[in-house]
Symmetry: C2
Subunit: 243 residues, 2 copies
């Protein structure tokens, strides 16, 4: 995993290939940034403040993180790992499809919680097709693949029986769904993001039901049409990230 240059560019460059001290400096800057983002928010935290608080010069901070955004990229990768860890338990012990999905979605919201304060910026820069943070960008391909695989495990090691044509596509559909929940969560101002948890519960149930009825004959052509659309979407828009 950490050998993947897309996902782990900075880590590979500094934590593996470079010196011990460099790795520690980098980690320290990242931790400091994370703390300041929590305390003050994203816009309110200047790179100068991050550098000062971390006890390094501004130029040095930029040596490790090429931009303020790239700090987010590092946080993004960290969050994904936390989610995978938090999902391990349900994935190992549950067999019911609905329960597995519910557990993974809960784990997602749980692990995201500490980032809620500045998640808006994370997502909004991620929405820019030109940004490497964009989920469809090359830079994000590795994380996206891994996350999709996670949803693949939700499905394939479960008791669910779905039509063959749908089976291979469903993980990606589930990943897209989970992005939708995140979008909602970003806007969620309810205490403890309770609304997001509730929404996840309901939609998980809805999806479980949809999966259950997916074998009904009259729905077959609809599913086929849906998959055709997905192919279409996947085929287009593979832009790289221009500077």
């Amino acid at each position: 995993m950490s050998s993947n240059p897309d996902l782990r560019f900075a880590a590979a460059k500094h934590e593996e290939l470079a010196t011990e001290k460099g790795a520690r400096t980098r980690a320290h800057i990242l931790d400091t940034a994370l703390r300041l983002f929590h305390e003050r928010g994203w816009r309110e935290t200047t790179m100068r403040a991050v550098a000062t608080e971390a006890g390094v010069s501004l130029g040095n901070a930029y040596y490790y993180f090429s931009s303020k955004e790239s700090l987010i990229q590092a946080i993004y990768a960290r969050s994904h790992e936390e989610h995978a860890d938090a999902s391990a338990d349900v994935l190992a012990n549950e067999t019911a499809f609905g329960e597995r999905l519910r557990g993974v979605m809960r784990a997602k919201l749980d692990t995201l919680a500490p980032y809620h304060r500045f998640a808006a910026v994370l997502f909004s820069t991620a929405a820019d097709p030109a940004s490497p943070l964009n989920p469809w960008s090359e830079a994000s391909a590795a994380v996206r693949r891994e996350a999709t695989a996670l949803f693949g495990r939700v499905l394939h090691e479960s008791d669910a029986r779905v039509p063959k044509i749908l089976e291979s596509e469903l993980p990606e559909l589930l990943w897209t769904y989970h992005m939708g929940i995140i979008l909602f969560w970003i806007h969620d101002r309810s205490p403890g993001c309770a609304a997001s948890y509730r929404l996840a519960e309901r939609t998980v149930e809805l999806i479980a039901r949809l999966v259950a009825v997916s074998r009904l004959p009259p729905l077959r052509p609809l599913i086929r049409a849906l998959l055709a659309v997905m192919d279409e979407v996947r085929g287009a828009a593979p832009q790289s990230a221009p500077a």
Copy 2:
């Protein structure tokens, strides 16, 4: 419409209440900005360049547009009006639901075309919950309502027969769908955005079919669950826009 302060704040303030000259200056700055965004892109166009090209000082440009983003807001409102105009024809003459929806979606893509070059920024800032450009924000409420009403006309003046419980909610679902198409379009790099048109065609057909089968008894509980989720989503996340 222009009496609505949310949608038309700047316009109301300057085009209606202020002087002739001020209105002309404002329009000229906006036109200049639009041209420069086309020619150079968003990031590459500086406020200084806009001011210089428009023949005004930097401070003066900021007198009319409180931020670089607020230029986009003005463009956003303009685009919506263009869409409504371009949709008038199909809405007046077509009766088949699928055809009406197809026409309105085509009109959307047609009218959006000139903005494709810098649409990414438009959308990415719009994804920020704190941004007034956000479709769910108070500032956008008026445009959203109008756009939803447009999709209401697509449905209600058509020949489609849908279950009662769905009838009142479908317009908002269609609006959400149309946002999804826009998201795709933003990423679309195919010549003339042909992929987006194709996707719209396919999804319109898919939706028409879904609407047609929506009366199947076994789907009734699913629809009910879907509507419950929509209620949930609507209830939450009504954040205002902090500075």
